[in-house]
């Protein structure tokens, strides 16, 4: 009897333990109503599988990691140039940028793994994390000299270099920002489609606010200037900042420019001047195609080269005017870097050299997918000869995408970028802005919560 009781207790404990330890080992939680087994289920749902092209088990496989398929265009061009790469290149698409760092960090300490990246793609939001680590090989060690990278935009070189100025990641795109304006709605609500006029309207935050009020009044709220204050975040975060997120002693600091953004967002919210969407949300996307009468629409989106040719819808074809934001910012961009234990440095050097240094090759990238390439000579060539990319998307009037951006790349400043930027800029800070703008928290609380959240995520950053 005693024994049975003990056994029953043991089983009961086992059940609690296994549920609590979130391992669904036994069959006992199968019939449990609970959402307990969703823990393991959701991992499968939430984290997509890698899509692998090529054979990673081949002896001379050269593995390249990325979070989307952008690289495939480059891969096709590379195979054309170096036919022997055809069977060697293995491309791993991790399925989304949110999972990229998790997946790749787990591999970097394990060079014997057949999926160990020989080369990885890095986005500006976290490129510094890898560049400052010991896991990447410097361009010098690959045999790529300063002369090779001389035509790159200098801000991209800075982004790809560690604190001693050693360049480890090399970008093939340049991504100066702009504001994209829908011409038909601008005509109707701002009264002009003249680029110079609009440039003036968007030259300061005050005049933008004025325009936003005008549009809102004239349309009865059916059309707004911007989709959400979230749309302005890259302009502020990647252009207006005056100090980084933390100082030399790792104390988190609040940039006055960021407080200005919080205030500006609050004004926009309080006066109902935007639709308060967040970027990449369903509503945000739908607002691009609204007609302004039956459905809501908005006039302007923050943008950059890849955004303009890749993310604008047909509604915007021959209907887009590009102007400068009040400050020059940048948005996105992808770098290539060889890992420290890269299996074949010659191949890595060939790829990086072709994709990020070679004027002709980079012109062919532009032709293949319209990328605004990180090579000033290639760009001036493209502009001078009015070369066309693969996309048929074109701007309103005689404006031309590469021409507009060609003069903007030099003005980008990335000196304040830190390794933690992606999480802070895209998750933690927007949460603080929303909390303040919507009135859930007062400013001090919002900032205090924000600092606490940063410290909580990166415990080495301190709250003073």
């Amino acid at each position: 009897m005693k024994k049975r009781k003990v056994l029953a207790m043991l089983l009961a404990f086992a059940m609690t333990f296994s549920l609590a330890a979130c391992g669904s080992s036994g069959g006992n939680d199968d019939q449990a109503n609970s959402d307990a087994d969703t823990e393991s289920g959701s991992d499968e749902d939430a984290i997509p599988d890698n899509e692998i092209t090529g054979d990673p088990s081949a002896k001379d496989a050269f593995v390249v990691w990325a979070w989307n398929t952008d690289f495939t265009t480059l891969q096709d061009l590379l195979v054309e140039k170096y036919p022997d790469l055809k069977d060697r290149l293995v491309f791993v698409n991790c399925g989304g940028s949110s999972y990229y760092q998790d997946k790749i960090d787990a591999l970097l300490d394990d060079p014997s793994n057949e999926l160990y990246p020989d080369m990885m793609l890095l986005e500006v939001g976290y490129v510094q994390k890898y560049v400052q680590s010991d896991y990447l090989m410097s361009l010098k060690d690959l045999g790529i000299t300063d002369a090779d990278t001389a035509d790159q935009f200098s801000y991209n070189i800075e982004l790809g270099s560690d604190k001693d100025g050693v360049q480890k990641a090399s970008f093939w795109q340049a991504t100066p920002g702009c504001i994209q304006i829908r011409a038909d709605l601008a005509e109707k609500y701002l009264g002009t489609t003249d680029q110079a006029e609009l440039e003036k309207t968007f030259s300061s935050w005050d005049s933008i606010l004025e325009a936003a009020r005008k549009v809102n009044d004239a349309s009865g709220g059916k059309v707004k200037l911007f989709s959400g204050y979230d749309d302005l975040k890259y302009i502020f975060l990647n252009g207006a900042r005056t100090v980084g997120w933390y100082d030399d002693n790792d104390v988190i600091q609040m940039d006055p420019a960021m407080e200005e953004y919080m205030e500006y967002s609050k004004t926009l919210y309080d006066e109902d001047l935007t639709f308060n969407t967040t970027m990449w949300g369903t509503d945000w996307a739908a607002l691009k195609d609204g007609d302004g009468e039956k459905s809501e629409a908005c006039i302007a989106f923050a943008g950059c080269p890849w955004y303009t040719y890749w993310s604008l819808t047909d509604t915007w074809d021959k209907n887009t005017i590009l102007v400068d934001a009040p400050v020059q910012f940048y948005w996105g961009g992808t770098g290539l870097a060889a890992t420290a234990k890269c299996a074949d440095t010659d191949v890595a050097a060939e790829i990086i050299k072709s994709c990020t240094c070679d004027k002709d090759f980079m012109t062919s990238i532009y032709k293949a997918n319209g990328d605004f390439v990180n090579n000033q000579k290639a760009i001036s060539d493209i502009v001078a000869n009015n070369l066309k990319g693969a996309s048929t998307f074109s701007l309103y009037g005689d404006q031309n995408i590469p021409e507009f951006f060609s003069t903007r790349g030099q003005n980008v400043d990335v000196s304040l970028v830190t390794a933690e930027d992606m999480t802070i800029n895209e998750t933690l800070f927007p949460a603080a802005v929303t909390a303040y703008a919507t009135g859930e928290s007062d400013k001090d609380t919002a900032i205090k919560d924000f600092k606490a959240a940063v410290h909580d995520t990166y415990s080495y950053l301190k709250v003073e």
């Binding site: 009961a12 086992a14 609690t16 333990f17 296994s18 549920l19 609590a20 330890a21 979130c22 391992g23 080992s25 036994g26 939680d29 449990a32 109503n33 609970s34 959402d35 307990a36 087994d37 969703t38 823990e39 289920g41 959701s42 749902d45 939430a46 949110s98 760092q101 998790d102 960090d105 970097l108 994390k129 890898y130 680590s133 010991d134 639709f275 308060n276 967040t278 970027m279 990449w280 949300g281 369903t282 509503d283 459905s295 390794a419 895209e426 998750t427 949460a431 929303t434 909390a435 919507t438 859930e440 928290s441 919560d449 606490a452 959240a453 909580d456 995520t457 415990s459 080495y460 709250v463």
Partner: protein, 330 residues
């Protein structure tokens, strides 16, 4: 284990050892995949992991991680308590309507007077939402409930609301949405458990009640509900354990909003497990400490419920001595 030695006696053949053999796989799997990680988690929670630019330093800090996440240490916010509050709020919002709905459906589907046709079909249909993956459901509801989504547009064109409301911007809107998704996903499952419980109640009692002229309502409240207590408690325990670990729906619902593991608005729908996921990459030690605290909460809740279940059994089962095993149902 002693069974093996007793076998040397030639006259009695003991099959006891086979029993142990049969239950061995569970214990082996449990030891390797549950108990060992659990003990390890305790161990990890004593260390501080600092990863900066992919360089990790590990230092022993004792109970510092616990003090940090509970907000006791200087300059730290008690995120664990905050998120535990969020989690419990989401669970309560989900559990109460869910049990009522399930009970109603179970009562209808087992009512012998109603003679409902195609019961099997209804059971399948009500269970159906549980089959769809949480990811699809979250994204679906995100789209449906968005400010300019179909629900708001319909309500507005019907003239029921004058302004499109943004549910995701309100604490209770988001909380209720997430909870309703949970209800919709899980009430079919709960219903099946309750049906099993109701079928387990002896028909004699109903017959007797009917002879005495009891109405359907009286039967439900005086017979079904009291005798269903053990099953209800089981549902409550499993739901509480699952509810504390609530992760997929709120996480994915918020991923749709582009905020990752920070549950909007203003961090009010972040659950404890979302917090663990957020930490596990940057600070394994603190993630472990939060896991351990969650485990302790789960353990306490489970022990209370088990205790209550035992005492209620004595009454629910009728007789005190021999009918104790009745809760295993038939």
């Amino acid at each position: 284990m002693k069974a093996g030695k007793k076998e040397t006696k030639p006259k009695t053949v003991s099959y006891g050892k086979y029993g142990y053999l049969f239950i061995a796989p569970f214990f082996i799997v449990y030891l390797v995949f549950s108990l060992w990680p659990l003990i390890n988690t305790f161990y990890y929670s004593m260390f501080e992991y600092t990863t900066r630019n992919l360089r990790t330093t590990i230092t022993f800090t004792g109970l510092q991680n616990y003090l940090n996440v509970l907000g006791i240490a200087d300059g730290e916010q008690g995120y664990f308590l905050k998120y535990l509050g969020n989690t419990l709020r989401l669970w309560l919002l989900n559990f109460v309507p869910q049990i009522l709905l399930s009970l109603l459906a179970a009562a209808w589907l087992t009512n012998n007077r109603a003679k409902l046709k195609a019961r099997g079909f209804y059971k399948v249909v009500l269970y159906m939402p549980n089959i769809i993956t949480a990811a699809s459901i979250s994204l679906l509801f995100c789209a449906l409930l968005s400010k300019y989504g179909p629900i708001m547009s319909t309500l507005r064109s019907l003239g029921w609301i004058s302004q499109n409301a943004d549910i995701m911007m309100s604490k209770w809107g988001t909380g209720i949405s997430i909870s309703m998704i949970q209800v919709w996903m899980w009430y079919g499952n709960t219903m099946l458990l309750l049906i099993a419980g109701i079928i387990g109640i002896s028909p004699d009692i109903y017959e007797a009640a009917e002879l005495d002229g009891a109405t359907g309502r009286q039967q439900f409240f005086s017979i079904t509900l009291p005798l269903l207590k053990p099953v209800m408690l089981y549902v409550l325990v499993t739901s509480a354990i699952g509810g504390l670990q609530l992760f997929d729906i709120p996480a994915l619902f918020n991923v749709g909003q582009g905020t990752g593991y920070v549950g909007g608005p203003n961090d009010t729908s972040t659950t404890v497990t979302m917090y663990i996921m957020r930490l596990h990459n940057t600070d394994t030690g603190r993630a472990a400490a939060v896991s351990v605290l969650l485990f302790i909460c789960t353990l306490i809740i489970s022990l209370i419920f088990f205790r209550v279940m035992q005492t209620s059994d004595a009454y629910g089962g009728g007789g005190k001595k021999k009918k104790g095993g009745k809760r295993h149902g038939k």
